[in-house]
Symmetry: D2
Subunit: 336 residues, 4 copies
């Protein structure tokens, strides 16, 4: 960590600052220049409160040299984390995974039928929302507990493990037999929820917030890991930019960068990122080509009121094609 001081600091303040930094078990290197003084802090700075230092009168700026996360940091854990969901389904370390299913669980028939279809196409994990975060209080908020029960029935019928979103701590008892807990983009910095995820002992799929940096995503993973749960997957699902042609801007360079910074698996959600069905296949292919450890894709079999043959979430038929293409691409991606 580097602390840049304002010009001509009071000597007493400077000494106090250095004294205090040393009391945090840091070595302090002083460089005195013509227009500024620089302090180099050597040691473990991950628990230093950077805002506190930046707030000091004599400080002009503070710049980190080291990442502020440890558990999630590849420097300290060079090997890929591999998360075992079942005996057959592993994620990370070269194990690529396909998660698929409807946006919302709507009925027992719908979810079981989609489960069968995506399993047949090669998906290894079933997704589906029982608790739905909706911008409008007047929109459908999900089936809740009933939706969880339908998902568990689909799991029983197909053997597919389940990933579904948890929106608040009080819902946790319902998630006992759920295999992966999803923390949605809007809750990426709901720190109490993250701490609870640290204690829950289940794999967590942590979605990047719409306006969150990769460092913040890793810090949110760090919240879970520092509280005891190392089984975290990071999910890129698009960020908010000025571009309005797609719902969000899928940040695929995040994939190799996150894998460089961290040992955690990285999953890509091309459906929510783009909001456009015809972009799902090219973005799924691109995500695999960029090194993603898995995909999570929306598939829907029950067009509302039979009006649509191919809605923005894929039909099972369209998903068959995506899954087949991805399956062909994966083995090649190991040779790059």
């Amino acid at each position: 960590m580097i602390v840049i001081l304002r010009k001509n600091p009071e000597q007493r303040q400077l000494e106090n600052l250095i004294q205090w930094l040393k009391s945090l078990n840091l070595d302090v290197h002083l460089s005195v220049g013509e227009t500024s003084i620089i302090l180099g802090l050597i040691g473990d700075t991950s628990s230093v409160d950077i805002d506190l230092i930046r707030a000091l009168d004599i400080v002009e700026d503070v710049k980190r040299v080291q990442e502020p996360y440890k558990n999630a940091n590849r420097k300290f854990h060079p090997d890929d984390t591999i998360i075992e969901i079942t005996a057959d389904v592993k994620i990370g370390g070269g194990n690529k995974v396909m998660m698929a299913g409807p946006c919302s669980v709507e009925s027992i028939d719908q979810i079981c039928e989609v489960a069968r279809r995506v399993k047949a196409a090669g998906a290894e994990i079933l997704r589906g929302g029982a608790f739905k975060p909706r911008t409008s209080p007047y929109a459908f908020q999900g089936l809740g507990e009933t939706g969880i029960n339908y998902l568990l029935e689909a799991k029983k019928q197909t053997g597919l493990p389940i990933v579904t979103e948890l929106m608040n701590i009080s819902q946790l008892p319902l998630f006992d037999e759920i295999d992966i807990i999803q923390i949605g983009a809007r809750n990426m910095q709901n720190y109490d929820l993250l701490k609870e995820m640290g204690h829950c002992g289940k794999p967590v799929l942590l979605k990047r917030g719409l306006a969150n940096t990769l460092e913040e995503l890793l810090m949110s993973a760090e919240y879970i890991m520092a509280n005891g749960n190392q089984r975290v997957m990071l999910c890129e699902r698009g960020i908010r930019t000025f571009e309005t042609a797609m719902r969000n801007t899928l940040d695929l360079a995040a994939v190799p960068l996150l894998k460089d910074l961290s040992h955690l698996p990285v999953i890509v959600d091309p459906s929510h990122a783009t909001g456009i069905a015809k972009l799902v296949k090219p973005m799924a292919m691109a995500a695999i080509a960029a090194g993603a450890d898995g995909l999570i894709i929306e598939v829907h079999n029950d067009p509302p009121h039979a009006l649509c043959d191919g809605a923005q979430s894929l039909t099972p038929e369209a998903f068959d094609v995506v899954a087949a293409c991805v399956k062909n691409l994966i083995p090649l991606s190991f040779h790059w």
Copy 2:
């Protein structure tokens, strides 16, 4: 609401769609052009699920004509909402309010001393964080329940009502004597928390999320209002952009625009928005000039380890100046 159809829709699909829209109590106007067909939906569309329609195969795009919020909409409630905090302190409808206090409650002495100072300078509400959302799990997370008790002691000593942040529903019992509950930017779309705020019966200060549009802010207010609580204040505190010279970009045009769209009071937080102490005064003045109903400003009296004379949150002395300037500006602002 306007539904733009793809070219040459199947006749059966088109009829099904129109039938279904009519079943939602909407009048449907059909315009057939050379390259597209347009449906104009007339009636109350606020509870229509726009994503569902957009997902239909025969639909190219859907555009709203009316705002999707009702309770928060000035069209349906032309008069300004006035929120009475105490017999003396009202917010909205021409009543301007100054909230001030430290970022975090640190000790009983600190909070009581700041309370006295900001009251003397003219602040009418004391702010201070007991539960702190922090990006890093290793940073200070606030004093929690103890912090709440210190705030209540400061209220007892000075008579100032208290605004402080609630991060999760389980903390609610501690907020019995708190006057205004703050929902932080990171929780602006924590919908379960918003619903609970609808039931809690207390005034709510709802901060805009870093990547949230004004419409989304109003929809989050709508969550609280639709669940029974009409006493909501909107707070502009900066949005995330590419600019890195300030912490966030304070969107002051949001003030007159929100006041045009909605009857709810609009508060501005220049401290968090900019993160730079010397910008607080000009931005406070600008906010009042733009028509804000109040300000929430960070004031700190306990420079850490006596190192700083003027940290990024204002000293009480600096706040005296800001408060005096604002006090002079407010009466003028009514003549514009």
Copy 3:
């Protein structure tokens, strides 16, 4: 085009507006609802000045139904544009192209050596900057005319066609033997330059501006095409967002979306987009997987002062690997 009127417009104004719209050869469909009146405009609206209509007192909003570009629009030109650079090098319509070379031309030896190396690795076009747009007036601004001559010498030695940036119209006479003129991101909306490109008769590589939408990119292509030059390539090179971990955010979903909206070839620049050498390979692969018609990649052989073995632009050795991987991926991409 849809015009949404304010509530209760004056009858005289409404009639004037309709009259005027009809004078533009548009059919006007009137839908009168409870809370608003909607005009549907049928006909060729691409030359209607949307801002003018939006500025009218009685108009609340205007929404386009059709794209405002024609020449660049796939709806009117369903077949892929194929741009023939030389007898051997074609771009678009399934012809994938690799452009490579240094950021700046620095010396005759450097550019010729890089040209040989990238040609050996499979590149078909040589890139290199002679005129360099630099944020700082104190930074190296390129070799200018000398740089152009060095590029032409490299072309002579290797046979590789050249793509290089033109920054202003007065430089055009120097570009006689240049094969592709690059318009940089900062000049994407330099309309006088675009018009000149319409007259110049050479293929143009048009880079997306850092804050420009895809529609604006297509409108800038339209400037060139409407002025007579149909040989335009669109280049995605990253947009500016709040994320600071990479230089820009590469928007790969732009690739399939642009190819859906337009018949023009789409090229991806992973080097400038990310600014990080180790991200070039995964992003190059992802771009091809997403359907890009080509890549433009920075390769540098002359590490400044021999200090660096692998700078942020790739070494020729690293490029050999990227080019080989891309070459293997391309034939597969046709089967998806």
Copy 4:
């Protein structure tokens, strides 16, 4: 400037780097830590090519401590720049200025009538576009030379100095009697144009690009100043963000920050920033309250086809009110 090296650099490379930095007349301070080595560079680093250093293999990151601009930097020129337009009209150093006029010059009657009206209301400079940058090649591109002549006629009739946009160097001869040359947002990084502005000897109003940081704006001013012209005004006119409720997001905190970083006058354009007529007054007031040295406001007297009584640019009547309010606010703003 601080250079952070990768772990365990090769000794030879490190020595080469230090040697080279010293050859640039910099002192180099070496701090060796457990996990990284830091070089502090002391001396004039404004002409050091930061990208070149960052590109070195052994370098992990480079961070500036000093601003990369000199001429525009308040540290080196503590006093406000005052730009004298005429004997009566000065800008900066406490001299506030109001510029007003139509978006485009449309006819001799229109521009002269608006000129009279805005002069009567208190405007001191007439704005109006003769060359118009338009997103669409099919939209009105301005009257060009004729528009310039109309502006000069309005100047003759009213005595108001003129500010108007120059889009390319070849138009410069037409600007002989123009008082202030405006460089538009889309040309903020058109470096050849900026260099020419350095030689032209006229005051320049430099508009911030839609995706440009304040540092980049100052660097573009530096281009003009380093080429010999110190009379530059900076203009904040909104940046591009995810928010779609306004045309752009007006960044008013830029005003005090720019005035802190630089001695140049700062002008605010509330009309283009918001694109909404009713936001112009509150944002004009807020800009003055934030410390702006002037405003540039759109006023239009010729509603197209008599359809609109109050378009999005203000009518002269509405401008009368804005100008009167601003006039009242200005003297107060000196006492804050």
